[in-house]
C-alpha cells in the first residue's frame, strides 16, 4: 500500500493536491504578496491593519530567476534521505513574488526557464513520506 504523503510543515502549500499551490498573503490595498503568509502588509507605506491582508493560493507556475546545486548534505535539521545533490532555485511567480524552492531535477534548468509547482519527498518512515514543495522544470 502506498504511504501517506505528509508535508514536513503544514500550512505552507495546498495539500493534498495534484497541483499544489503555495499559500501566501496579499494586501488588498497595494497587492504586496508575502510567503509564508504574514499578518501585515510589508509595504512601508501601507497601514498595518490585519483586515487589509487576505490569504491567496499562488499560481502553480513560475520562471527561474537563478538556481544552484547543493552538492554536500546540510546538517540537521534539514533531512534528505537517501542524500543526493539537489537543485535550489529562486522562482518568480505571476503575482510578482520571488520564492525559494528545491528543484525536482537540475536537468534542463536555465535562467528564465519555466517551472511548475509539485510536492516531492525528502524522507520517509514506516508509515509516511514527508514532502515539501518543489519546482519542476517544464519544457
Amino acid at each position: 500500500m502506498a504511504k501517506n504523503k505528509i508535508p514536513i510543515i503544514e500550512g505552507l502549500f495546498t495539500w493534498p493536491s495534484d497541483k499544489p499551490q503555495l499559500i501566501a498573503s496579499k494586501c488588498k490595498k497595494c497587492g504586496t504578496v508575502t510567503f509564508p503568509k504574514a499578518a501585515f502588509c510589508a509595504n512601508p507605506d501601507c497601514e498595518k491593519k490585519r483586515d487589509n491582508v487576505e490569504i491567496v493560493n499562488l499560481s502553480n507556475t513560475g520562471t527561474v530567476w537563478t538556481y544552484t546545486t547543493q552538492i554536500y548534505a546540510p546538517p540537521a535539521p534539514f533531512k534528505k534521505e537517501p542524500f543526493e545533490p539537489y537543485g535550489i532555485a529562486m522562482v518568480d511567480t505571476s503575482e510578482g513574488l520571488r520564492v525559494l524552492g528545491i528543484l525536482t531535477t537540475t536537468d534542463n534548468v536555465k535562467l528564465g526557464g519555466k517551472v511548475e509547482l509539485t510536492a516531492g519527498k525528502l524522507y520517509e518512515d514506516d508509515e509516511n513520506e514527508y514532502v515539501t514543495w518543489m519546482w519542476k522544470p517544464v519544457s
Partner: protein, 404 residues
C-alpha cells in the same frame, strides 16, 4: 545632520582567528581587550562604556551567555560598573558595535568606549536556532528548501555571471589575489597562497562556487578602543579619525531573498543588497567623502561572488566594474593602486561572525599607521573603508582616516 565631536581609534586588539575549542568566548575577548588596552597605553578602569557583540549560535555553545556577551566579558575582565550593551546584527555586528562605541563618545556622554566581540563559529554550515515551525522563518526555510549559505551565494553568483559576464576564471582569481598576502598576516587562520589550479581543482560546493571560493567559519575575537579626538594624544601618537560609522537595513522591494527568508516582493528600480548600498551611501554622506577618496578597502569576501558584488557596492560602480578592476591588477593587495583585503580577507581568516567587522577595522588601523609589517600596502593610504554584510539583511560600514 548635526556634527558631533571628532572621535579617534586609539587602540586595537585581536585574538587570532582559528579554532579554539578549549577557550570560552569571554576568555578570547579578554585576550583581545588586553591587546587593545596595551596598544592604547590605557588601563581597563579608564574605559567608560562598552558595547559587545551578541553571539548567534547560542543553542550550540555557551547558551544565554552568548547573547548577554557584554556582561559575561565584563565579569571575566572584572566589573568596573560601566554601561554595557550587548548587540546582535549578524555578520554586521562588529561594525554595528563599533558604531555604538563611536556614538557613545561622539555624543559627548563618554570620553572613551570599547567595542568588543568574541565568536566561535568554527565548524560548518550556519543553521537555525529553533525548531519552531510556526514563526521561525529560518527553520521553515532550512528544512523545506535546504538552502545553505553557500547555496544562496551560488545563486547570486550564477545570476551575476549571466548579467555582467563574470567568468569561472574571475571567481578563482579572487582567491589567488586575496590569499597571496595571507602568509604575512599573523592573526589569520589560513596562511597559504593558492594558485588558480588549486582553486579550480577544489571540490564544487554549490555550482558555480568551489570550496576555495567560499570562506570557512572560524573562532576569533576583537576589541577596538575609541576616544574623543581632543584626548586621543594621551593614548597614541597616531590617532585614526572615524569619518563615518554606519549600519544599513534593507529597502522594501529588494530583488534578492536574504538568507533566513523564503521570499521577496521585488519592486522596479530597487535592486539587490539594498542594506549594503544604503549603508555605503550613508557612510560617504557622513564622511563627506567620495569613492575616489578611498585608498584601502576591507570587504566581506565570504565568497568570490561577494568580492565582486561588494567591490562594486563600495565603489558605487556599475555592476561588472569589479571584475575589470581585478583583471587589471588595480586591487591587488600587494601591488595595486587600490589595495583590497590586505588582511587576506574572509577567505584567509574564515568568518568569526560577530567579531568579523572588528577584524577588518583592526586591519585598517594597522595599515593606516604603517604597522602591518610584511603585508603593509605600498600606496601610503590615508583614507580606508570597511564593510561587512550579514544574515537577514544586516550591513555595517565605516570610513576612517589618518589624523596625524
Amino acid at each position: 545632520m548635526q556634527k558631533f565631536r571628532d572621535v579617534a581609534i586609539v587602540g586595537v586588539g585581536l585574538h587570532p582567528w582559528g579554532v579554539f575549542g578549549e577557550k570560552s568566548m569571554p576568555e578570547m575577548a579578554v585576550e583581545a581587550i588586553t591587546e587593545a588596552l596595551a596598544d592604547a597605553n590605557m588601563e581597563w578602569r579608564e574605559v567608560e562604556s562598552m558595547v559587545s557583540g551578541g553571539y548567534l549560535w547560542v543553542t550550540q555553545r555557551e547558551g544565554m551567555f552568548g547573547i548577554l556577551s557584554g556582561t559575561a566579558i565584563s565579569a571575566a575582565m572584572g566589573g568596573i560598573g560601566i554601561p554595557i550593551t550587548s548587540c546582535a546584527n549578524a555578520c554586521a555586528t562588529g561594525g554595528a558595535i563599533f558604531r555604538e562605541a563611536y556614538l557613545a563618545v561622539a555624543s559627548g556622554l563618554y570620553d572613551t568606549a570599547i567595542a568588543v566581540a568574541a565568536d566561535k563559529s568554527a565548524g560548518g554550515f550556519f543553521r537555525p536556532q529553533s525548531e519552531d515551525p510556526q514563526f521561525d522563518l529560518d527553520y521553515i526555510r532550512y528544512v523545506m528548501t535546504g538552502e545553505t549559505n553557500p547555496a544562496y551565494w551560488a545563486m547570486e553568483c550564477k545570476r551575476r555571471m549571466a548579467d555582467v559576464g563574470t567568468t569561472e576564471d574571475d571567481l578563482a582569481e579572487v582567491k589567488v589575489v586575496t590569499s597571496k598576502i595571507a602568509p604575512f598576516n599573523p592573526k589569520t587562520r589560513y596562511k597559504k597562497a593558492f594558485t588558480k589550479e588549486d582553486v579550480l581543482n577544489s571540490p564544487m560546493v554549490c555550482d558555480p562556487l568551489h570550496l576555495l571560493e567560499i570562506c570557512a567559519t572560524s573562532d576569533g575575537a576583537g576589541a577596538i578602543i575609541v576616544c574623543s579626538m581632543d584626548k586621543a594624544k594621551k593614548y597614541t601618537q597616531k590617532p585614526i579619525l572615524i569619518d563615518a560609522a554606519v549600519i544599513g537595513s534593507p529597502t522594501f522591494g529588494d530583488h534578492t531573498i536574504p538568507l533566513t527568508y523564503l521570499s521577496t516582493f521585488p519592486r522596479p528600480g530597487v535592486g539587490i543588497l539594498t542594506e549594503s548600498r544604503n549603508s555605503i551611501a550613508a557612510a560617504y554622506k557622513m564622511a563627506n567623502r567620495r569613492p575616489e577618496d578611498v585608498d584601502l578597502i576591507e570587504l566581506p569576501d565570504n565568497s568570490s561572488w561577494h568580492y565582486f558584488a561588494y567591490l562594486d557596492c563600495i565603489l558605487q560602480a556599475h555592476d561588472g566594474e569589479a571584475e575589470k578592476l581585478l583583471r587589471s591588477g588595480a586591487v591587488d593587495p600587494m601591488t595595486g593602486k587600490l589595495p583590497v583585503c590586505p588582511s587576506g580577507g574572509l577567505g584567509s581568516c574564515g568568518e568569526a561572525v560577530v567579531a568579523q567587522g572588528l577584524f577588518q577595522i583592526y586591519e585598517l588601523a594597522k595599515q593606516l599607521r604603517g604597522e602591518a609589517g610584511e603585508r603593509q600596502v605600498k600606496n601610503d593610504p590615508k583614507v580606508a573603508i570597511a564593510q561587512t554584510y550579514g544574515y537577514a539583511g544586516n550591513n555595517a560600514a565605516c570610513i576612517v582616516s589618518k589624523a596625524w
